[in-house]
Symmetry: none
Subunit: 159 residues, 2 copies
């Protein structure tokens, strides 16, 4: 199965458009995205980071599956629906492979004028994230430090 991997930083233009990395687009297409008549890509605020989680049909079906397991008209289901469906935005990819990130999502990810007009795409396997470049640098550095610690604990003489 194809996975989203690697990290790419692209520009946002004056109209708020960003090119999705070609490698990611290719995966979305194989994942059920159809150039025409397609719903688009699913995108929602990441729960534990100032970033956006994005994916294709596979991700949408995951959400459906979770909700379908709860009884209709239960309060629990309504609440989950709000958080899962309600926060999801379906973004369409234009003919040139670009999307426009809506205001609500940009706010969550800190993609304001201060982000230097750039966004970072981060592959995470079956989904990918969109970050403000600086915020992601910090996150990445923290992750590296953590790995270093683990190495020490593991007594890693080889890496």
């Amino acid at each position: 199965m194809d996975r989203f991997v690697s990290t790419v930083t692209n520009k946002i233009d004056a109209k708020g458009r960003v090119s999705i990395p070609a490698a990611f687009r290719a995966i979305l297409e194989r994942d059920g995205y159809r150039a025409s008549g397609s719903p688009g890509i699913y995108c929602y605020p990441s729960l534990d980071a100032p970033a956006l989680d994005c994916g294709g049909e596979r991700l949408a079906q995951k959400i459906d599956g979770l909700l379908a397991s709860l009884p209709d008209y239960s309060e629990e289901r309504d609440e989950l629906s709000v958080a899962l469906y309600g926060d999801v935005q379906v973004l369409t990819i234009d003919g040139d492979g670009r999307i426009v990130i809506p205001e609500a999502l940009r706010t969550h990810a800190g993609l304001g004028d201060d982000s230097g007009g750039q966004v970072t795409f981060v592959g995470l396997g079956d989904k990918f994230q969109i970050w403000a470049p600086l915020a992601f640098d910090a996150r990445r550095k923290a992750a590296r430090d953590k790995v270093q610690e683990h190495r020490k604990l593991l007594g890693g003489s080889s890496g």
Copy 2:
């Protein structure tokens, strides 16, 4: 299958008209809504929230199915029938894609002059809800907290 997703906030004008988000309208049309001679959209007070539940034919059938699953003449069925059918309003969409929310429904959802002349449409899969913007913000926060508890079900090593 088409689902209602995402959250949109629109204005109510002086005459009480609100535009239904175009994306939602498109789903209603595919769900059996016909521009002319159509019954309209089904709308009723949400059972457990200060909001309105709305949907098309698919929602109506779902309610039918739910009631049919309960034993005839059971107290439970009677109560649910009243709760679900009793307050249902069939709203028509005008030529410009707008509806007028009747007084009784506006009261339940707290869509008064205090709501800033705005309403929030929240996609919930096979139905959508109409909220007063501020009330929905609170609900959204609660819902997100709840999802945190369910994250493991989403298979998320992150997010």
